[in-house]
């Protein structure tokens, strides 16, 4: 019996297997990475929408919680890179804003503040951000109905 001579197999890279492994790695990192963007509900005042805070803007969120024990302000800071953390108050803001400004002096800071928060609190935040070197500040508003 005469069998056909086997043809030589050209050397190839198994690209399909590489893509599968890459995909597995992507899903691994997607699941392993901690994304914690801020989802705090803020009662923003309605106002004229004059600018849109740029993508990647750092965000300060100040919310007012009224409980039986009294009133409490909750400060949260999102550095624009996907991580949000709670701050003790305006003093903690200085370090966080300084860190962001050192990385990018022109970074926009969006303030999302409950409409019932006293302006003295806003003023404290502005003063602390000024000392830390923030230049671009946008005051968050809710787009007015029909605007």
């Amino acid at each position: 019996m005469r069998l056909p001579r086997p043809r030589p197999v050209p050397p190839t890279l198994p690209a399909a297997a590489l893509a599968d492994v890459t995909l597995l790695l992507v899903f691994f990192f997607l699941l392993a990475t901690s994304f914690d963007p801020d989802r705090t509900q803020v009662d923003l005042p309605a106002g004229p929408q004059l600018v849109e805070a740029a993508p990647g803007a750092a965000c300060l969120v100040v919310t007012r919680r009224v409980t039986a024990a009294g009133e409490r302000l909750v400060w949260r800071f999102d550095d624009g890179r996907g991580l949000s953390q709670e701050l003790a108050g305006p003093d903690g803001l200085f370090f966080e804003v300084s860190r962001v400004v050192e990385d990018d002096p022109e970074r926009t800071f969006l303030l999302k503040i409950d409409s019932s928060v006293r302006f003295s609190t806003v003023d404290d935040a502005l003063e602390m951000m000024r000392k830390a070197g923030a230049r671009n500040v946008v005051f968050g508003v809710r787009a007015a109905v029909g605007a």
Binding site: M1, A16, Q49, V51, L110, R118, F119, N136, V138, F139
Partner: protein, 139 residues
């Protein structure tokens, strides 16, 4: 004995295509999360340094608790703020209005006042901090 020769059927390699499509999907999902705008807002010409605000005679708008307003010391009725500011600006060389908000007013009061002031044509609104005001006028 004669063996049958295998015939390779022409086909598209769909397995790596699916992998690439999923890869692209993941990239677009992650990029989209960071590329979205953060939200609407308003921006002031904030005079945070005493030398940063050069207009020598701005219209001073004081916002009191509850949203009441004064323009250059004179009380203004609700809704009359834009007209009062426009009238004052007509006699001034510069287009600047300084928004001084009482510490006891709320953030909502400030935004509402800003909306009224910003509706005046060609006005430049500045929001000084308390430290700036004290540096100018004393505590």
């Amino acid at each position: 004995m004669r063996l049958a020769t295998a015939i390779a059927r022409p086909q598209l390699p769909s397995s790596p295509l699916a992998s690439l499509a999923l890869l692209l999907l993941a990239v677009v999902m992650i990029a989209g999360m960071f590329a979205a705008a953060r939200g609407p807002g308003l921006r002031f010409a904030t005079p945070t340094e005493p030398a940063a605000f050069a207009d020598p005679s701005p219209v001073v708008v004081r916002i009191l608790p509850g949203g009441a307003a004064e323009v250059d010391g004179a009380p203004v009725e609700a809704g009359g703020l834009p007209a009062a500011i426009a009238a004052r600006l007509a006699s001034r060389p510069g287009p600047a209005a300084l928004l001084l908000v009482s510490p006891d007013a709320t953030y909502g009061d400030m935004v509402a006042a800003y909306a009224a002031v910003a509706s005046v044509p060609n006005v430049q609104v500045a929001l000084p901090t308390r430290a700036w005001v004290e540096a100018k006028t004393g505590p």
